[in-house]
C-alpha cells in the first residue's frame, strides 16, 4: 500500500468497519484504516471528525460497536489499555496523561513497575530508560516532578513512556499543538529516527504541512467517516484540504471587502503584559489598534497568548501592565481595568473561544443562556431586579430566527443544541442583544467545530458587522479562516505580536514563518 512498506510484512494495524456513537453523535462510521509496518501514517480531519475516537478504540479506551481490529496480521480484541499495551500499542494522548506531583520516572513506570518495591523498581527502570534515551535522543530529567517540567519535555516524557512499555505502534494525537516550532522540529527528528528503527507511527494533526513532511500515507476523515486514503506521494496540501472540508476550499475573499479605507480607531491597546502564576509571560508588551470598518485577524499556534489577549480585552482578565482606550474611556493596569460589564456598556461585544465553558451556561435553558451578560439591561429587568422573562424569551426567539438557530426552541436546554447552533446563538446574542449595535466585536475561534454551512453564515455576519462600521477582531487557529476574513493580520508568538501583515502580503508561507518565530522583516 504505502511506498515504504517493507516486503511481505503484514500491516501493523488494520481496522475494519469501525462504528462508534456517543448518544446522538456518530463519531465513527464504518471506518477502515490500514497502516503498513514501519511507516508513519497521518490522520487528518476537522474538529470532531472522529480521529481521537478512532485512536481511543485502537488503544482500548473505547469499545467499538462494530468492526474488527488486526494487529500485525492477527485479529485481536482490545477491551482495555492493558491489552493494548500488551499488543505493543502506545498512545500519546491529545491531553497529557501525567500525574503532576509524581516524578518523571514514576510516571513512566506506573503500571509497568518491574518490582513491587519502588526502590528496586526505580533502579531497574532508570537503567533501561537511560539506554532508551540514548537510543532515541529523547532527553527527560527523570527526577523532577512533572509539574516542574516544561511542555516540550512533558511531550518527550509521554513518548518515552510509550516506548518504555515496548510500543511498536505509537499513536500521537496532536503532539505538536502545544509545542513551539523548534520543539516540533526536534520532535520530528526523533520520530524519524524511531521510524527508521522500525516503529510504526500514527500521527493525528491539524497541520497539513506536518503530514507532508513526515508521513508516508494519510487518511482523511470527515463526520466520522474516511473520505480519502492515499500515499503521500499521490496527494497535495490543497487536495487534502479539499478532502477534509468536502468541497473546494474557497480561499478567495468576498469581492466587496477590500478597497474601503478603515475609519477612526475604536479600540487602542498599549503595552499589555501578563504573566501566569508560574511567572511565564503570556502577554508580552502587546499593542494594537482596531479601527472602524476593518476585520483584524490574529493568527498563531494556539497557546501563544491569544486566549489571554481576548480575556484582557474583554475585561475578563486584568493584565499586570498596559492600557486600553475604548469608547473614549481609558483604563490602566494595574489599578483600574476594564471589567466585562463596563466593556458591554462601552459597546464591546465578545464571542468567547470556549462557548461550552464561557459562552453559555449549558444547564440553563436557551433563553437564559441567550441573555447572559445582557441580563441587566433595562428591557430585561424591571423594578426590584424582577426579570422580564417574557421579554427575554421573545428576544431569544427573534435572535434564533435572525441567525437560523435550530431548533427554534427558546425553552430547550442549552446543552441540547449542537456546537454550530450554540455558536450561532452566542453570536446572535452579541450582535443583537445590546441596545445599539456593538462597535467592537471580539471573536475567538468563530467556527471551531462548526459545519460548512454555518461557517459561511458566520463569516457573512462578521463581514456585515464590519461593513456597518464595526471593528472586528478575529482570533483563529485556522489560517484559512484568517485569510478569508481579515483585512489585516497580526501573528502572535510566545505572547508577543510577532508581526503584522496587510492581507495583500499574506501568504501561508509568510504567516507560517512569523508563527514559527521569525520577525516581520525576515518573513516578508
Amino acid at each position: 500500500m504505502s511506498a515504504t512498506s517493507a516486503g511481505g510484512l503484514p500491516p501493523a494495524v488494520q481496522m475494519r468497519g469501525i462504528c462508534k456513537r456517543f448518544g446522538a453523535v456518530q463519531a465513527n462510521r464504518d471506518v477502515n484504516l490500514t497502516v503498513a509496518a514501519g511507516t508513519a501514517h497521518g490522520i487528518v480531519g476537522e474538529n470532531g471528525a472522529g480521529k481521537s475516537t478512532l485512536m481511543s478504540i485502537l488503544y482500548g479506551f473505547y469499545q467499538a460497536e462494530a468492526g474488527s481490529i488486526a494487529i500485525e496480521g492477527r485479529e485481536v480484541q482490545i477491551p482495555g489499555s492493558r491489552e493494548a499495551i500488551a499488543l505493543g500499542i502506545g498512545m500519546v494522548h491529545q491531553h497529557f496523561m501525567l500525574v503532576e506531583p509524581l516524578s518523571a520516572l514514576d510516571n513512566i513506570m506506573l503500571g509497568a513497575e518491574p518490582d513491587w518495591r519502588l526502590g528496586a523498581a526505580r533502579a531497574v527502570v532508570r537503567e533501561k530508560l537511560e539506554a532508551l534515551m540514548r537510543d532515541t535522543g529523547l532527553q527527560v530529567r527523570l527526577d523532577l516532578a512533572v509539574e516542574e517540567l516544561p511542555v516540550g519535555e512533558r511531550q518527550r516524557l509521554e513518548i518515552l513512556k510509550a516506548l518504555y512499555r515496548g510500543a511498536r505502534i505509537l499513536i500521537l494525537d496532536e503532539p505538536t499543538a502545544v509545542l513551539t516550532p523548534q520543539e516540533t522540529e526536534q520532535l520530528f527528528v526523533t520520530l524519524r529516527r524511531l521510524r527508521a528503527q522500525g516503529t510504526t507511527l500514527l500521527l493525528i494533526t491539524h497541520k497539513l504541512k506536518e503530514i507532508m513532511a513526515l508521513c508516508d500515507a494519510v487518511t482523511v476523515m470527515r463526520q466520522g467517516a474516511v473520505v480519502l486514503d492515499t500515499p503521500i506521494a499521490d496527494t497535495s496540501l490543497d487536495a487534502l484540504a479539499e478532502a477534509m472540508v468536502g468541497r473546494r476550499v474557497n480561499l478567495g475573499r468576498d469581492a466587496g471587502a477590500a478597497a474601503r479605507a478603515p475609519g477612526a480607531t475604536l479600540l487602542a491597546v498599549q503595552g499589555l503584559r501578563w504573566a501566569d502564576e508560574m511567572g511565564v509571560p503570556r502577554l508580552a508588551d502587546v499593542s494594537l489598534d482596531l479601527k472602524a470598518g476593518e476585520i483584524v485577524g490574529i493568527a498563531g499556534v494556539s497557546g501563544n497568548g491569544q486566549t489571554e489577549l481576548l480575556a484582557a480585552l474583554s475585561g475578563m482578565l486584568a493584565p499586570q501592565a498596559g492600557q486600553i482606550t475604548l469608547g473614549g474611556e481609558r483604563f490602566d493596569a494595574p489599578g483600574r481595568w476594564l471589567d466585562p460589564t463596563a466593556a458591554r456598556r462601552l459597546k464591546l461585544a465578545h464571542v468567547p473561544e470556549d462557548r461550552h465553558r464561557c459562552g453559555m451556561v449549558l444547564k440553563m435553558s436557551a433563553w437564559e443562556s441567550a441573555v447572559l451578560g445582557y441580563h441587566r439591561l433595562k428591557r430585561f429587568v424591571g423594578a426590584g431586579g424582577w426579570m422580564k422573562q417574557r421579554a427575554m424569551r421573545e428576544a431569544t426567539a427573534q435572535w434564533m430566527e435572525a441567525y437560523d438557530v435550530r431548533p427554534r426552541n427558546a425553552l430547550l436546554q442549552s446543552s441540547k443544541f449542537s456546537g454550530g447552533n450554540q455558536q450561532k446563538l452566542v453570536l446572535a446574542r452579541e450582535a443583537l442583544a445590546p441596545e445599539t449595535p456593538p462597535q467592537v466585536l471580539l471573536v475567538g475561534q468563530p467556527t471551531r467545530g462548526v459545519d460548512i454551512g454555518a461557517i459561511e453564515f458566520i463569516h457573512g455576519r462578521l463581514r456585515a458587522m464590519r461593513d456597518a462600521g464595526g471593528a472586528v477582531l478575529v482570533v483563529s487557529s485556522e489560517l484559512d479562516e484568517i485569510l478569508a476574513l481579515a483585512d489585516r493580520v497580526l501573528v502572535m508568538d510566545r505572547g508577543r505580536i510577532a508581526g503584522e501583515l496587510a492581507i495583500e502580503d499574506c501568504t501561508e508561507a509568510a504567516l507560517g514563518r512569523l508563527m514559527a518565530g521569525a520577525t516581520a522583516r525576515e518573513a516578508a
Binding site: G23, S314, G315, R357, L372, G373, G385, Q389
Partner: protein
C-alpha cells in the same frame, strides 16, 4: 463504569425520586422487621400519628417548619454551587441571635417591634456564621464542605460556653436561659386561629409556619424570578460563564451562603421564639442535617422542599407517636430512615436510572426512537 443515562423529564423529576424513596422505605421496613415489629402496623401508626389528629398534624407542621428552613438553606447554597453542611451550626448561632435580642429587649420592646427584631437577629446571626466559610471559599478556596463541618463543632462549643458561663439562668441547674418576656413569644397557631374563631389544639405550631412558607416563595422568586438568583445559578452551574457575563463569582458565593445561613438561622425563630421561649443547648437537634435530606429529595426546588419537609415532619411526629405507642420503637428509626433517604436519593440517586430507562424505553418504543432520530 456506568455512563450517564438520559431519562425523559417526567421520569427524571417525578418517577426516579419516588423509586429512590421507595427503596429507602423498603430497607427501613426490613430493619423494622428485623427488630421484631410489624412494618405494616408501624406504617399505619406512623401515618395516623402524623395526620390522624389535629394535634398530631400540628406537631407535623411544626417539625416541617424547621425542616423547610434548613432545606431551603441547603438548596440556596446548592444553586450557588456550594454544599452547605453547616446548617446545624448556623441554626445554633441564629438561635443565639434570637436569644440575645429577646433577653436584651424583651422587657422594653412591644411584640410588634420585638418579634421582627428577633427574626432579623436570627437571620443576621445565621448569615454571619455562614459568612466566614463563605469568605474562605471565595477568597482562599477552602472547601466549604470541610469548613462548614468544622464550624458546626465550633458553633456547638461556642453555644455551650456562652450558655454555661454567661447566659444560664442564675441559680438553675439546667443549661438554659431564663424565659423570654411575653413580648418575645411568637404567637402559637392555636392563638392565631382562635383570633379567627377557629379552634385548634395547643401544639408547638406557631406563626413561623407562615414565615417558612413565605421563605419558600421568596427563595423561589429569588432563584427563578430575580436577577440576583439568575446570577447565583449562573455561578453555580458555570463560574467561568458567569465571569464572562460580568458576574462576580465571589460575590455570588457570599450571597448564596449568607442567604443560606440566614434561612438556617430562622430555625431559632421557630424553636425559640415560637416554642421554647428560652435558649437551650440542643434546640437544633439535627435539623441542619435533616435539611440536607429534605433538599435532596425536594430536588432543591422550594415546592419540593416544602413537600419533603412535610414528609420529614410527618416522619418525626409519627415516629414520636410510635415511640409512645409501640414498645421497642425508638425515634432513632426515623434517623435511620433519614440516612437511608440521603443514601438512596442522594449518593445512589442514579443507581436505578439504567433499569428505569430500560423500562421506560420498553414502554414507549416509538417515542424513544423518534427522539433519537431528531437528535441524529
Amino acid at each position: 463504569m456506568s455512563r450517564p443515562v438520559e431519562l425523559p423529564r417526567w421520569a427524571d423529576i417525578g418517577l426516579l425520586p419516588l423509586i429512590n424513596l421507595a427503596m429507602a422505605l423498603a430497607v427501613s421496613a426490613i430493619v423494622v422487621a428485623v427488630i421484631g415489629l410489624d412494618p405494616v402496623q408501624v406504617i399505619t401508626q406512623l401515618v395516623k400519628g402524623a395526620f390522624g389528629t389535629r394535634s398530631g398534624l400540628g406537631y407535623t407542621l411544626y417539625y416541617a417548619t424547621t425542616f423547610t428552613f434548613t432545606g431551603l438553606a441547603v438548596a440556596v447554597a446548592f444553586h450557588g454551587g456550594l454544599f452547605n453542611i453547616g446548617g446545624e451550626g448556623q441554626a445554633m448561632v441564629g438561635g443565639l441571635g434570637v436569644a440575645a435580642v429577646s433577653l436584651a429587649f424583651g422587657n422594653s420592646l412591644p411584640a410588634v417591634l420585638m418579634l421582627p427584631l428577633a427574626v432579623v437577629a436570627a437571620m443576621a446571626f445565621g448569615a454571619a456564621w455562614a459568612a466566614v466559610p463563605a469568605a474562605l471559599q471565595a477568597w482562599r478556596g477552602s472547601h466549604v464542605v470541610i469548613t462548614t463541618i468544622m464550624f458546626n463543632f465550633i458553633a456547638s462549643a461556642l453555644l455551650a460556653w456562652l450558655l454555661v458561663n454567661h447566659l444560664k439562668a442564675p441559680g438553675g441547674m439546667t443549661v438554659e436561659t431564663v424565659a423570654f418576656a411575653d413580648s418575645a413569644h411568637l404567637p402559637g397557631m392555636h392563638e392565631l386561629l382562635a383570633g379567627l374563631g377557629i379552634e385548634w389544639p395547643r401544639t408547638p405550631l406557631n406563626a413561623s409556619l407562615l414565615l417558612a412558607l413565605a421563605a419558600a416563595v421568596g427563595v423561589w422568586a429569588l432563584l427563578w424570578r430575580l436577577r440576583a438568583g439568575y446570577e447565583l445559578r449562573a455561578v453555580g452551574h458555570s463560574p467561568e460563564a458567569a465571569h464572562y457575563a460580568g458576574i462576580h463569582p465571589r460575590r455570588q458565593v457570599m450571597l448564596a451562603m449568607l442567604i443560606s445561613g440566614a434561612l438556617a438561622g430562622m430555625v431559632g425563630v421557630n424553636e425559640l421564639s415560637g416554642v421554647q421561649h428560652k435558649l437551650l443547648l440542643d434546640f437544633v437537634a439535627g435539623a441542619g442535617f435533616t435539611g440536607i435530606a429534605v433538599s435532596l429529595i425536594g430536588r432543591n426546588h422550594p415546592l419540593g422542599i416544602v413537600l419533603a419537609a412535610l414528609l420529614f415532619g410527618a416522619l418525626y411526629q409519627g415516629g414520636a407517636e410510635l415511640a409512645f405507642e409501640v414498645p421497642g420503637f425508638s425515634r432513632d428509626m426515623v434517623t435511620t430512615l433519614q440516612g437511608l433517604i440521603v443514601l438512596f436519593s442522594g449518593a445512589m440517586a442514579r443507581v436505578a436510572a439504567p433499569a428505569l430507562s430500560r423500562v421506560v424505553m420498553a414502554l414507549q418504543p416509538r417515542a424513544a426512537v423518534a427522539a433519537g432520530a431528531a437528535h441524529g
